[in-house]
Symmetry: C2
Subunit: 299 residues, 2 copies
């Protein structure tokens, strides 16, 4: 569901009728957004003498969305052991692909966050998934198709086998991001999640590919870290996001914990960004050269 | 206290001795930061056979810092009514100065966040304080000198009177930010908090002045919002922060709630940024023209 519509429905979910200004205050959405949503989804609202109320159809839509987001439920991470078993199918991290695996606690946190934000329902693509976050999301009960793109056959095989055995609606795509984005994948996804290579070239490429694959109202989740003593490296990546026209919506410090990665403190932040009218790839077409570096994060 | 040192002391605060890699994992600080801190504050640590333990002096420093940050205490916002009484001393918001007041709930959240982050102890400056956040911080028991700079004599008078009557260590400075930054205020503050004008010119100026006033390891707290339909306005401000070399450390969406401001949804985000070696003012010296706009945020 469009996030602005969700927030307005939720503000009216107790059945009150509110003035437009009160809807603004309760939803935290601008009056122009309130106007747009009440016009675009007219059947969800009853408007009388300038006061807005949720219709039964609006309440039904809200209920479906809240259930999908698990609102009011205690997070259930009883699937964590199943995730650990799947993760154990991997061989050692492939340093040539900058693979550094997250902890299973991080997999749980990522799945919970994506579900609470409703992004599992918007057409969610993982750009690179050696962390098997897409599996965590399915184990958490995403209940919608999830797509994972990777260049590593081992990762894709683990995902495909588990999807077949467990009945997940899961799409796995073998693709090297140095190759141009397949036409069928452009502007198609409501959300992209990526924990891109440490090297700046790889980071820029992954962010650019995401820009091509996201819909105009899409969201980008991107993980990156840097040592306190190397803040300029973090700033380079912030500059890439800004240049690519992604608007930062939330930054969760220390969200991701890694097995290893002592050079950056074994943790990284999760940035959630929004597509804007200025979002564009900084890199197009085929790309040569190394994305993944055998150089250490501190070199 | 330097944030990296705090996180390392806290990781060792249970008295364990840990390997360097385990300190990295527990503190979430890079191995190079662990090395720097254990050398710089050698008396806080005992190092034996490559394992690190907190000394009694280190534990004492940690205890002082944790108490100052109120760790383990339930936040006490019993002072909220006192804040409301002080806030009621103000006349109506001066639209010519883009004044839009926060709710008292937001004042409580700001004070709690600044205290938990330890920024009330690092030399904290408010650039503009029509919200009287510095008073909220004192009421919350900051216990250190806080500085508030404003051009509005009414605001400064309210702060000075309450400081005198309540025994706060409070400095009030009358200054128009269009004038050059006073020499004595340059590179002097460990943290700056600002809720700058909505207009981009004003935003750029406030961020630039903060860049001049912050120490090399300082932090900038800056509030801004934008409608979901005007994401490019948010992006312009993100670009200012990036160009000024501020590294985003955390973004708290919908953190600030305002009385009014329906055009942006009555809320704004709080961004916490770090000074980097590239931090620099985008505007220097005296500035002409209007910072504050009588144009509405949506025009």
């Amino acid at each position: 569901m469009y996030e602005g519509a969700f927030r307005i429905l939720r503000a009216l979910g107790d059945g009150r009728s509110l003035s437009r200004d009160d809807v603004v205050r309760a939803a935290g959405e601008a009056s122009s957004v309130v106007r747009e949503v009440t016009e675009r989804y007219a059947k969800w609202f009853e408007i009388e003498e300038g006061r807005i109320r949720c219709s039964d159809r609006g309440l039904a839509a809200l209920a479906r969305e809240l259930v999908a987001r698990r609102a009011g439920q205690t997070p259930d991470s009883s699937w964590r052991e199943a995730y650990e078993a799947i993760a154990a199918e991997r061989s050692a991290p492939k340093r040539a692909l900058d693979q550094i695996f997250i902890t299973s606690g991080t997999a749980v946190r990522r799945a919970e966050l994506l579900i609470e934000a409703g992004d599992h329902q918007r057409g969610l693509l993982f750009l690179g998934d050696d962390d098997l976050t897409s599996a965590a999301l399915q184990l958490a009960g995403a209940g919608r198709k999830v797509t994972a793109l990777d260049t590593d056959d081992e990762i894709l095989g683990i995902l495909a086998r588990n999807a077949a055995g467990r009945g997940w609606e899961h799409e796995t795509i073998r693709h090297d991001l140095r190759q141009p984005t397949p036409k069928a994948m452009r502007a198609r996804y409501g959300a992209v999640f990526t924990d891109p290579p440490y090297a700046l070239e790889g980071f820029r490429l992954f962010v650019s590919r995401a820009a091509e694959m996201l819909k105009p109202d899409g969201r980008l989740y991107v993980c990156f870290g840097h040592s306190r003593r190397a803040s300029e490296r973090g700033l380079q990546k912030q500059r890439v996001l800004t240049d690519a026209g992604f608007l930062v919506e939330a930054v969760f410090p220390d969200f991701n914990e890694y097995q290893g990665a002592e050079a950056i403190g074994s943790r990284s932040a999760l940035w959630r960004c929004r597509v804007t009218p200025e979002t564009r790839p900084l890199v197009r077409g085929e790309v040569d050269g190394e994305l993944y570096t055998s150089r250490s994060p501190n070199s």
